[in-house]
């Protein structure tokens, strides 16, 4: 059944059941307090009285008991006393009850004991304990319980009235609740369907009340935001890849086409150039894949203790001839004994990319400085150069794949180097900050002493 499958309907049913159960429990409790308990008290009193009278009868005889019973009946009491004492031979020795069952029932009786006063009839009901005494005499002692009976009657009538009212409340309340929840769940569903249909900018309406469903909506919206950004970035990357592919593929095609008509020496050159082009393409794809894998945390980093000071020295050493060739000074100021937990190869790759960029972009005669010091929150790495720097408006974008700042047009590269650095930084729980070194670019990278 569709209705049963609906969560809001089931919730409404549950609500009805809980509501009914609560009201029933309340009624039962009320009944017990106002009816059962007083009756039990009266019963306890009657049992005690009856036992006392039995003793009296046994020790002092019928006459003594008759006198006691008659005195008891005349004594003003909140509950009028009733009694009947019948001798073994059937003679009624004393009573103020109008009637009783002919046979002793040996249990609790209810006997009508209406009172006529000033020509008016007052209903009275007596709760009577009917016993047989040792010599066969029958003793009935009772008390008026009309007030309790009236209340009982009232409660029963009330409960009878309460039923339809309760049913009405349950249906109306459940329905309203089910609709309210259903509508809010539907809103989520509608949004989800629109998103599925392709509109990733759709968001779940949030009331701002901060309740559960609102919070759920906010979480889902945050998720949608995240998905939209990553889909957007995937789209941008695939667009860029496609775009970046055109030039090398065109060149490759041209070189291969030219092969037929080429002279033997030219052929060798063409083949070499084509092979280089293909290798370049493969490297570009590798780089894109690598960044994606690191970003998606699909790369299982080899996290272990890394002597970052030694790693930085190695990186500087690796790039030293490159800097020298460009006529740059490569200065290092690395505090010794710096250690972090991280992926050694990826860290080296990242530092190497940063140094490579700094060296490529700094004009001859300039300076590239690599420094690392122990900072409060980890290890502060800084690579500064005296190149053109990155204009403030591009600083956010430089880590995007294939983004190349206008100044980079003359420098060869894919525009992937910094994306990889950013991915590695993120993998190590850190971020990169680009700033103006006045003149030049400064990259600050604080590596947490313990990451990953």
């Amino acid at each position: 059944m569709r209705l049963l499958a609906s969560f809001s309907f089931r919730l409404a049913l549950l609500y009805a059941a809980l509501f009914t159960l609560s009201v029933s429990i309340l009624l039962a409790l009320f009944y017990w307090i106002s009816i059962r308990r007083p009756i039990e008290q009266v019963e306890a009193g009657l049992i005690a009285e009856s036992a006392r009278f039995e003793t009296l009868y046994r020790e002092h005889g019928g006459q003594a008991l008759v006198e006691t019973l008659e005195r008891r009946a005349e004594l003003p009491a909140p509950r009028q006393a009733y009694h009947a004492l019948i001798a073994p031979n059937g003679t009624v020795l004393a009573t103020n009850l109008p009637s009783w069952p002919p046979e002793p029932s040996l249990r609790w009786l209810r006997i009508e004991a209406d009172i006529y006063r000033d020509g008016e009839e007052y209903d009275h009901e007596a709760l009577v304990l009917d016993r047989r005494l040792a010599d066969g005499a029958r003793l009935m002692v009772g008390r008026d319980v009309q007030d309790i009976d009236d209340l009982d009657e009232g409660i029963r009538v009330g409960a009878l009235w309460l039923m339809p009212v309760m049913a009405l409340l349950v249906i109306a309340g459940g329905g309203l609740m089910s609709r309210a929840i259903g509508r809010r769940i539907d809103a989520v569903g509608t949004t989800a369907r629109r998103v599925m249909a392709g509109d990733l900018s759709e968001r779940i309406p949030v009331r701002g009340s901060g309740d559960d469903i609102d919070r759920l909506g906010e979480t889902l919206n945050a998720m949608l935001e995240r998905i939209e950004t990553s889909v957007e970035s995937v789209r941008r990357v695939s667009d860029s890849v496609a775009h970046e592919l055109r030039t090398p593929l065109t060149r490759l095609q041209a070189e291969l086409n030219a092969l037929n008509a080429a002279s033997p020496e030219r052929r060798t050159a063409l083949i070499e150039s084509a092979a280089e082009e293909a290798e370049r393409l493969a490297r570009m794809f590798d780089a894109v894949l690598r960044i994606s894998r690191i970003e998606a945390q699909r790369h299982q980093p080899e996290m272990r203790r890394v002597d970052i000071a030694a790693l930085l020295e190695d990186a500087a050493d690796y790039h030293a001839p490159q800097a020298e060739e460009r006529g740059l000074a490569l200065d290092t100021r690395i505090q010794s004994g710096l250690e972090i937990v991280g992926d050694r190869d990826l860290l080296f790759q990242a530092v190497s990319n940063l140094l490579d960029n700094a060296i490529k972009f700094t004009p001859p005669g300039g300076r590239v400085a690599l420094s690392a010091i122990r900072a409060e929150d980890g290890i502060a790495l800084r690579i500064a150069d005296t190149g053109p720097g990155i204009p403030a408006e591009h600083r956010e974008k430089v880590v995007e794949r294939f983004f190349r700042a206008p100044a980079a047009e003359t420098v060869q590269g894919f525009g992937l180097g910094l994306s990889l650095v950013a991915a590695v930084a993120k993998l190590h729980g850190s971020t990169l900050r680009f700033s103006d070194a006045g003149p030049g670019l400064a990259v600050d990278w604080t590596l947490p002493a313990r990451s990953g």
Partner: protein, 225 residues
């Protein structure tokens, strides 16, 4: 060398096989993991080139099976998964070297020859001699024609590695991996500049060149006289 090539892609197998044969090796090709495993246990090879991703039996499983039998034949893993963590997995499983697809044939041949069991090259000695070049590994002293040459420790390690593989091609990435001991993809290959500095030092004064550049592949150190 007797080389067993376990590779499911026919075109890659043809290309690799032809390249290795051209370099003078005998190549047996197995087209899937099962056949490869049977071949590997049936015969003694000097080198096994193993594709990481194979139908039926996965390359790593084959490698582990081979190693479990106590067979220490050098294994060069080929894989389309070029990431460092994949590389580490391959080496942990008992691989000796790892080459990511796509690769240049010369790179594969160079690595295969560096790994091969019956590969020539200088035996482990305290002092290696190539022509009039003398490398004292313990004292870390290099002499050319009796003349002492001052090298930085990095230059010494490059020379050491080239000398150990004398007569064979050493590619730039092999140098990166073994001399720098980092697996990374350099934005700019500065290895050439390091080698040329080394060359300048050991070939100073018109001495005969000992380190030759192999086009499209890497470097080769001349052997003996």
């Amino acid at each position: 060398m007797q080389i067993l090539l376990i590779e499911d892609d026919g075109r890659v197998a043809d290309y690799v096989g032809a390249g290795l044969r051209e370099a003078g090796h005998i190549v047996t090709h197995a087209g899937d993991g099962k056949a490869g495993l049977i071949q590997a246990t049936a015969e003694q090879y000097d080198l096994i080139i193993l594709d990481r991703m194979l139908p039926q039996v996965d390359g790593l499983t084959i490698l582990q099976t081979i190693r479990a039998t106590g067979d220490a034949t050098p294994v060069l893993l080929l894989s389309a998964l070029g990431d460092t963590d994949e590389r580490v997995k391959g080496l942990r499983a008992g691989g000796d070297d790892y080459l990511a697809k796509p690769f240049v044939l010369s790179e594969l041949v160079a690595r295969a020859e560096a790994l091969g069991r019956r590969a020539p090259g200088l035996a482990e000695q305290a002092v290696m001699r190539i022509a009039d070049l003398e490398i004292d590994l313990l004292g870390r002293i290099v002499r050319r024609g009796g003349q002492r040459i001052e090298l930085t420790s990095r230059e010494f390690r490059i020379l050491d590695y080239l000398a150990r593989h004398a007569g064979r091609v050493v590619t730039r990435s092999m140098l990166l991996e073994h001399v720098w001991d980092y697996h990374f993809d350099p934005q700019t290959n500065v290895v050439d500049q390091h080698v040329s500095r080394l060359r300048q030092k050991i070939e100073r004064g018109g001495a005969i060149p000992l380190i030759e550049t192999v086009r499209g592949a890497g470097y080769r150190m001349r052997t003996g006289a």
